[in-house]
């Protein structure tokens, strides 16, 4: 076990020193791409290809009509290049006709891709007790352990399947937390979303395994518009993991996902993300533009916990939020955001306190290296009726170079006198003395940085499920290769 870990460590260093981006390869499988551009006909085509019901097409068209009236938002501390939304293909699906029933039916190239990524789709996953809804480009390729989950009444399937098999649930909750009018990218996603995951945990059920999805951009020049909907009914519990990697590309790739979570009375949802989209090269060329809207609503005494480790993407624009609608509900946000080279991140959370005695905790750890820009942006809002609301915010920045930037934009909007809102912030720098101290004890600089950074981020990393924590630690190390010295 110990030996494996160490070997793994060395492998990572080798990989990193010999290649620019480990996951930078393209799988050669036939991809069904519709023409570039976006208009009503394209949306009708997407909907038709998926065999969607009329109400969903209507939803898409309404979103599209609204999106056309909106300007691209400019308020973030980001330098976003012009995006030509007509130069993007909005749908790509692996050419496998019908969803495969077993592993044998899955395109061997896809299996190889997952192997390269180190995603253990087969037995290892089973041993780890993880069910995977694997998304290759836009359509679900394979879903595991659904039957096992079905015995408990847990639904875990692709979004498209959910539309067909559980239309009432989808219709009831789709857009209920993130409406298509929410923001520019949410409107875009609502119009063109390709696929994603759907989870339903029935009343009183504690989901016995971590549910996990791996996303991956694959077809060149295509954007990815995932849509995830999680509904945890009264007194249920689920822990959901999302992780992603993307292959190396020269042109920029747009990613605008939506995650909606409904946490009903006394239910609890943990949502963990490790985000490792291609960040662009050392000169800032290429990389994924990641504009994500993630939000959950908590009913009475419900709890929603967001944990994210963000190391990838050229641009990250992401604010996983909690609407604490029910009395005594709890929202949490734990984040590590790493930026290196020319990466830009503007990320944080919104905690909207509406119910009485609602509590929220925000712990944000920014790590900036190279010439990158890393911003925390958070809003804590306490509504007039939210008696006894409490928030604790801690946001720390760690700087690894003289040319990077760390910024903090905490907004506080309190309309109730009984609220207690605390905010703490620190900025620190890894210094040469610390590195030399480690060196003197025999720990090389790269390892020392990893040790210090992982120590700094520990509070957040500890919130990740075990199997994710290991991956995330590796990612931190890999992302910061060569950033100190």
């Amino acid at each position: 076990m110990e030996k494996d870990k160490n070997r793994e460590k060395n492998d990572i260093l080798d990989d990193v020193t010999t290649s620019e981006y480990k996951h930078g390869f393209v799988t050669e499988i036939e991809t069904d791409i519709i023409p570039e551009g976006l208009d009503e006909d394209i949306i009708r085509l997407i909907s038709q290809k998926k065999g969607e019901p009329e109400w969903l097409l209507d939803f898409r068209l309404r979103a599209f009509a609204y999106w056309k009236t909106m300007p691209m938002p400019q308020w973030a501390h980001l330098n976003i290049p012009e995006i030509d939304f007509q130069a993007i293909s909005y749908y790509a699906a692996p050419k496998t006709k019908d969803a495969p029933k077993s592993l044998d039916e899955v395109d061997p190239e896809i299996i190889k891709t997952f192997d390269k990524l180190g995603i253990p789709l087969e037995e290892r996953m089973h041993l780890a007790g993880v069910a995977v809804d694997a998304v290759m480009d836009s359509v679900s390729v394979r879903t595991t352990y659904r039957e096992k989950l079905a015995e408990l009444g847990v639904i875990f399937c692709s979004f498209n399947e959910a539309v067909k098999e559980y239309p009432d649930l989808v219709k009831k909750y789709l857009g209920s937390v993130v409406g298509y009018r929410d923001n520019f990218y949410a409107a875009l996603n609502s119009a063109v979303f390709s696929d994603g995951s759907f989870v339903y945990i029935p009343k009183g059920v504690r989901c016995p395994m971590e549910l996990s999805t791996y996303f991956r951009i694959n077809a060149g020049g295509t954007g990815q518009f995932e849509r995830t909907l999680i509904v945890a009914d009264d007194e249920s519990y689920v822990s959901y993991l999302e992780g992603c990697t993307a292959p190396m590309r020269d042109e920029n790739q747009l990613h605008a996902a939506i995650v909606e979570i409904v946490v009903n009375d006394r239910a609890e949802v943990k949502y963990s993300t490790v985000q490792n989209w291609y960040p662009g090269d050392k000169e800032g060329k290429g990389g994924v533009y990641n504009f994500v809207t993630k939000r959950g609503i908590c009913r009475e005494s419900a709890k929603l916990s967001w944990t994210q480790v963000e190391t990838g993407s050229a641009i990250t624009w992401k604010y996983p939020s909690c609407i604490l609608a029910g009395d005594n509900s709890i929202g949490e946000f734990y984040s590590v955001a790493v930026t290196n080279n020319y990466q830009q991140a503007d990320t944080g959370t919104k905690m909207i306190h509406m119910g009485k005695n609602t509590r929220s905790t925000i712990v944000s750890k920014g790590i900036s290296a190279g010439k990158s820009q890393n911003s925390y942006r958070g809003l804590v809002r306490v509504a007039p009726n939210a008696d006894g609301a409490r928030n604790y915010t801690q946001c720390d920045s760690l700087l690894l170079s003289a040319e990077c930037g760390a910024h903090t934009f905490p907004y506080v909007d309190v309309k109730n006198k009984s609220a207690v809102v605390e905010h703490e912030a620190t900025t620190s720098k890894i210094n040469e003395e610390q590195i030399f101290y480690c060196n003197q004890r025999g720990i090389p600089t790269e390892e020392a940085v990893a040790l210090i950074v992982n120590g700094y981020a520990k509070e957040v990393m500890n919130k990740l499920p075990m199997e994710f924590a290991v991956e995330a630690q590796k990612l931190l190390q890999v992302s910061l290769e060569g950033s100190v010295g």
Partner: protein, 250 residues
Amino acid sequence: MLQVKELRANIGDKEILKGVNLTVKPGEVHAIMGPNGSGKSTLSSVLAGNPVFTVTGGEVTFCGKDLLSLTPEDRSHEGLFLSFQYPVEIPGVSMVNFMRAAVNEQRKYRGEEPLSATDFLRIMREKREIVELDNKLASRSVNEGFSGGEKKRNEIFQMAMLQPKLSILDETDSGLDIDALRVVAGGVNKLKTDKNATIVITHYQRLLDYIAPDFVHVLYKGRIVKSGGPELALELEEKGYDWIKKELGE
């Protein structure tokens, strides 16, 4: 074990070491004394490879290797240990993780398998008793919130873990009360064998009451100006450094 010949080093444009000569053999304890600003700490930093200093001349052989061509971590792996005068704090990194990384890097360098968690923790428990550190040590961050005495004891603990061939103790006595001094010196003595060597850098005779040197050197203005046996330290204590300055005709 260690041969230092005509070692010169700068910080920025300022020359600090102006031709240091020193030979240390296994089993020996050398004390380097001298007034403030004479270059004592610089000598220890340069030997350990601190990049703040630039070596401008001379050579250093350590166990048959050209020490100056090795990276700081490889100097450590070869068996050179520096007990820092001011150990840095590394928030968030627990002593157990830090020490485990250090020990396993050393083992890797030597082509040995990493220690299992059980073995590592057992060794850690044994070694911390040498300097009477309690078991809370493992979970505490490196030097964070440690008292002056704890920091120095922690240095000697790390020395015990890494089992160096040559230990350089840079003003290990500074800021220690008499009890802490006894614990630290006792730890150093317990680790002493006829195969390893120690260089004790100190301002005062006091530490040498506990760690008995075989040789005493006086470093002054970047050179070793006088060497002798243990009696030299006592003489310095009695007469002060002015006596040396006078001898040098200043």
